[in-house]
């Protein structure tokens, strides 16, 4: 039936248009969230810088030579993995890149005969590893959109509990580092034991000799401080991941919107062509039908040539033509 194709196309355009509205909205939401997330990253920096500085001073004061969170274990039987992904998809390759990186590292450790323990942040990470039959030890959801310090503490507590109990001997942290709007990198880094070098590397001697008064003893302070430091690191990673997630989603949604626009143009063109075709077909059908009717009535004469056209086009011949 004429117009059928057109109707199908019209319906498709409508559906693409409503999808475009959704992706556009998500794009704008993500764009505004990135700004907020970046501000949060910046706002969290002073704390982690200061806490690192304090630890450095404590180390200079002679503390922490043998702290449990600082000392490496001789044999590593089980490696913990903290993977920070998102709760939701529609963020391009964001989830899969960080998950794959973690899985790769996990496989490497497995090849060395080590067991694993997965502590996952974000529903997508949990879905992935569960679907592939990995043993998942802890899942944290509902915190990646706007991580709060409380959330980081919750995750860090779980990690440090397992580490302290000797369940895991090493914990790696996989997350996406936010470098700029255009660049985010997946990082797989050691989380605990804390690398002593990371803290003491800038052990400058040119600074003022720090004869600190300590209250309580340096080791007692360090005891309280190191867990906070680990929390702060995890919090920073979560904030970075959150900013990266929003950036990835914004990019994915922007290209989805662009694609929808392009698709609409293409569809609109073929719809217009279909409509034109339908109209042309209809006209020729009408004309053909009318002609056939007239032919039948007047008994064999050609309606177009013998009657209408000759009289209209050549009025001067009217007398001649008219019978």
């Amino acid at each position: 039936m004429a117009g059928g194709k057109e109707r199908v196309l019209r319906r498709r355009i409508k559906s693409v248009e409503s999808t475009k509205k959704i992706t556009r909205a998500m794009e704008l939401i993500s764009a505004s969230r990135i700004v907020k997330a970046q501000q949060r990253v910046a706002a969290a920096r002073p704390y982690s810088e200061q806490i690192t500085e304090v630890i450095r001073n404590l180390a200079r004061g002679g503390a922490g030579k043998s702290h449990a969170l600082l000392s490496e274990r001789d044999t590593i039987n089980k490696v913990g993995f903290v993977v920070i992904a998102a709760d939701r998809g529609l963020a391009g390759g964001y989830n899969s890149t960080v998950i794959r990186a973690a899985e790769r590292s996990l496989k490497e450790h497995q090849a060395q005969g080590r067991d694993y323990s997965l502590m996952l942040v974000g529903k997508k990470a949990a879905d992935y590893f569960r679907f592939r039959g990995y043993r998942v030890d802890a899942v944290f959801t509902g915190m990646t959109d706007q991580p709060r310090y409380e959330d980081a503490r919750q995750v860090a507590d779980e990690v440090m509990r397992r580490f302290a109990e000797g369940d895991v001997d090493l914990v790696e942290l996989a997350y996406t580092q936010f470098l700029s709007l255009g660049t985010q990198h997946v990082r797989v880094r050691r989380f605990v034991p804390i690398e002593a070098a990371a803290i003491t590397e800038e052990n400058r001697t040119d600074g003022p000799e720090s004869d600190y008064e300590f209250e309580p003893e340096p080791d007692a302070i360090l005891d309280k401080l190191l867990p906070r430091y680990a929390e702060a690191r995890l919090f920073a990673a979560m904030l970075d991941a959150s900013a990266s997630e929003h950036a990835a989603r914004q990019r994915a949604m922007k290209s989805a919107t662009d694609n929808a626009e392009e698709l609409i143009t293409v569809l609109q063109r073929s719809m217009n062509r279909a409509r034109q075709e339908a109209i042309t077909t209809e006209i020729s059908e009408i004309v053909g039908g009318a002609e056939a009717l007239a032919k039948a009535r007047s008994g064999g004469e050609d309606l177009l040539i013998d009657r209408t056209f000759a009289a209209d086009l050549l009025p001067s011949h009217q007398g001649v033509v008219d019978r």
């Binding site: 706002a43 002073p46 704390y47 200061q50 310090y149 600190y212 008064e213 209250e215 309580p216 929390e231």
Partner: protein, 126 residues
């Protein structure tokens, strides 16, 4: 001297002050201009930052650390609130709940919750 009160999520206070009073592990301690370098743990308590002209900023700090060096006092706390940010209703509610729990069998957590609630209310009421 320069005083900074820093939480993981943001800088709560940053500015000049003449004296800072806080509760360290061994009891209340006050820092004045040119204090010797000091590094310590901060207990749950009220931090009072007294500026020139007796202006005073109060904050509830639920544990943290303090570093004093070169006329700078840096207080790091993972949970801290300025007096103006304390939700009085919530603190009262928390206090009531904690006190109720204290009547039954209580643990360190409950004890800490009660202390936190007290500190919050103390910050507001002076």
């Amino acid at each position: 001297m320069q005083v900074e009160l820093v939480s993981p999520e943001r800088i709560l206070f940053s500015g000049e002050a003449e004296m800072v009073i806080l509760r360290a592990a061994g009891g209340d301690i006050a820092f004045l201009e040119n204090h010797a370098p000091f590094l310590g743990a901060v207990d749950i308590g009220v931090v009072r930052i007294i500026g020139s002209g007796q202006s005073e900023e109060r904050a509830a700090v639920h544990g943290g650390f303090v570093e004093v060096r070169d006329n700078r006092v840096i207080i790091l706390s993972d949970v801290a609130e300025l007096a103006s940010q304390v939700d009085v209703e919530r603190a009262r509610e928390a206090q009531r709940r904690a006190e109720e729990q204290m009547r039954g069998e209580h643990d360190a957590e409950c004890d800490a919750a009660l202390r936190r609630a007290h500190v919050r209310l103390e910050v507001v009421n002076g």
